[in-house]
């Protein structure tokens, strides 16, 4: 059955029945599901979910690059960015195993060790604070590892969920056409006419702080962007011959939409969503910095920076400086990987 499609599609980004398509789909679902488990309060330490998450991320990367590795790794910056992204992801996923202390277990903290500069040791010399401590005697390095986990998981989950919603709305708008399309796209225009930070601030002002709330706010902020992009893709894909062929075969509408239209609308989104994860991390950290983001019990990098900010002017720079370096490292490496991906997958879009 797949033969006529592969010849008619011009050129098919994802031929139906491609095994990589199933692998990517499974990997994406695995990432989303394991993140959902890890984001719930008591699931944060579940080892199987974290292994699934790491495997899923690696599979997604492999699925994206298959056959195009040489083009992707065409300069030193691609290697550096990929390596640092992988390293940071592993650090975040295995934060509980790697970090010297659990910064949110109050029994492990000693207020006497508060505001120690980098390199100092604790009272009985059993532990060195390589990046110093905060005002409650928390090891900054451990705080960063835990914070990295919060920042990354919130942003990746929100981006995946927003993408899923955006894809469904966008495809539905394109397929239904007419009045449905017009109404949905007016809603999208309406939302996109305001900058995301403003919308997110507004939502968080109404919701209050919380991990679940910031995830919801970040989803609401982003979905419209995907919906508009997917609608555009779907409209141009729907005119192509392989859709006509599928109709000619007498396939039911749902099979054409889910089996043929949808898989071909997603690839252009991958580059966007990579960069979007970086934007989401920055947005989340800005909101947390402003005090309307994650709760104090589960600080992200932005909240760590905000906590240390008060001590900055008195010269105790390490409390917000190092979380900031970690934030910059993760965002810059995602952006660089996204830049390379865009050049590799969609040369048309490169600026």
């Amino acid at each position: 059955m797949s033969a006529p499609e592969t010849t008619l599609a011009a050129p098919p980004a994802v031929p139906a029945g491609d095994k990589w398509r199933r692998i990517n789909m499974a990997a994406g679902l695995g990432v989303a599901a394991s993140l959902a488990v890890l984001l719930t309060a008591d699931g944060a330490a579940l080892l199987p979910a974290r292994v699934v998450l790491l495997a899923g991320l690696v599979m997604l990367a492999a699925g994206l690059l298959r056959g195009r590795e040489r083009k992707f790794f065409s300069g030193p910056s691609a290697y550096v960015a990929t390596a640092s992204l992988f390293l940071l992801a592993v650090l975040a996923i295995f934060a509980t195993e790697i970090s010297p202390q659990n910064p949110y277990d109050l029994r492990q903290l000693d207020i006497m060790d508060g505001r120690q500069p980098p390199g100092s040791t604790n009272f009985d010399g059993s532990m060195t604070y390589h990046l110093g401590t905060d005002e409650q005697g928390r090891d900054i390095l451990s705080g960063i590892l835990y914070g990295l986990r919060v920042s990354l998981s919130v942003s990746i989950f929100a981006t995946l969920a927003a993408m899923a919603i955006g894809v469904v709305v966008g495809i539905y708008a394109a397929w239904a056409g007419g009045r449905t399309d017009a109404i949905l796209m007016r809603i999208v225009d309406f939302q996109l006419s305001f900058p995301s930070i403003l919308v997110a601030l507004m939502l968080m002002a109404a919701f209050g702080r919380g991990l679940d709330k910031i995830v919801i706010a970040l989803i609401i902020v982003q979905w419209a962007y995907y919906a508009r992009t997917v609608r555009g893709n779907a409209l141009s894909e729907a005119r192509k011959e392989y859709i006509d062929a599928a109709r000619g075969l007498g396939l039911p509408a749902w099979r054409i939409v889910f089996g043929h239209l949808l898989p071909n609308c997603i690839p252009p989104l991958i580059v966007i969503s990579t960069v979007q994860v970086a934007n989401t991390i920055v947005l989340e950290s800005s909101l947390s910095f402003l005090g309307v983001g994650v709760p104090i019990t589960q600080p992200s990098l932005g909240l760590l920076i905000a906590n240390g900010y008060g001590y900055m002017l008195s010269g105790q720079y390490w409390m917000s400086m190092y979380p900031g370096v970690a934030l910059l490292a993760i965002v810059a490496s995602i952006n660089m990987v996204g830049d390379r991906l865009r050049d590799t997958l969609n040369p048309r879009l490169s600026r």
Partner: protein
């Protein structure tokens, strides 16, 4: 044209009404403001009395109609904290934000255009690549962290510039501005630079793309054939042609500058309306939050409307598209 204008105006009014509904239900319906307004050990009678005074005992639609009615008269309630009418309060904070945003735009052009033109001129050389990689860092650096680093370097370590506040202000045309005093400018330098950084990388990328396109055009070949120096070609001929799209984009970005100023103002304790918004969110000062959101929405609607109208005047094809969309 008139039909287009009317239709666009009707759209704007519709957006405004939609935002009013969203803001009202977002801010007024979630949580109970009475819990914040009165002490927890108040008697039920006192609670009822406060509820009645603020009109919370009435059905939702009556409250909503009252809100709309008052809003149309420019009354969005009094600030719980400052005791002033919220709209007036915000308007008194607005000049600080506007001058910061305008200064930020200016900086982003002054930084971004020269870098972008140079990167476009040396597109395949290491200089061009270095600038492009640098612009990724410009995109990636979180606004608030840049501000903190600048404070750490220039205010704490070097002690060249003040770290917070607005400095000396003068009254110009009834607005309190700090652009016109030396002290005010010193205070503005760091926040404006922080705000400008993201946009500067955007401008760098735009200017680079524009320069690359312009350099292969006939007028550049002609200028070269005439024997003009490369500097003169870049600064006079290329620059003139790439500035139009850049200015258009920046005009659109003025609104987002105002929104992003929320973060910058918090870092630098700049007394603008963004800082006021954050303080109000933290103290649950609802009338101020609502007024800020409504005013910002109006600013955005005005910007979008103006841009659409100017586009239509410049490019009549948009009108046809606007009719169907």
């Amino acid at each position: 044209m008139l039909v287009f204008l009317l239709r666009r105006l009707a759209q704007s009014v519709f957006v405004l009404i939609a935002m009013m509904i969203v803001v009202f239900f977002g801010v007024y319906m979630i949580g109970n403001p009475v819990d914040i307004l009165i002490s927890p050990d108040a008697t039920p009678a006192e609670i009822d009395e406060t509820m009645a005074r603020f009109g919370f005992d009435q059905p939702v639609y009556i409250q909503f109609l009252k809100f709309i009615g008052n809003a149309l008269q420019g009354d969005l309630g009094r600030s719980f904290v400052h005791g002033e009418p919220a709209v007036q309060l915000i308007l008194s904070y607005m000049p600080a934000t506007l001058e910061l945003a305008v200064m930020g735009l200016l900086f982003s052009v002054l930084i971004g255009v020269p870098l972008g033109v140079y990167a476009g001129y040396k597109a395949d050389r290491w200089q061009g690549r270095a600038i492009m990689t640098g612009s990724i860092f410009g995109f990636s650096l979180p606004n608030f962290w840049v501000g903190m680093l600048l404070i750490l370097i220039f205010a704490v370590e070097l002690q060249w510039l003040p770290s917070t506040g607005r400095g000396e202000t003068v009254e110009v045309l009834g607005l309190r501005l700090s652009i016109f005093t030396a002290d005010g400018l010193q205070h503005m330098l760091l926040p404006a630079l922080t705000l400008a950084l993201y946009k500067a990388s955007l401008v760098t990328r735009l200017a680079r793309a524009g320069t690359q396109e312009a350099l292969v055009q006939d007028y550049v070949k002609f200028a070269r054939a005439k024997g003009l120096s490369e500097t003169r070609i870049l600064v006079v001929h290329v620059l003139k042609n790439i500035m139009i799209p850049i200015i258009t984009v920046l005009g659109l970005e003025l609104g987002s500058m105002i929104a992003f100023a929320v973060v910058t103002e918090t870092v630098f304790a700049w007394p603008g309306m963004g800082k006021l918004l954050i303080d109000s969110i933290l103290t649950l000062d609802r009338p101020v939050i609502v007024s800020y959101l409504m005013l910002t929405v109006i600013i955005f609607i005005v910007i979008n409307f103006t841009v659409d109208v100017i586009y239509t005047l410049l490019d009549p094809r948009v009108r046809v598209k606007g009719g169907t969309a």
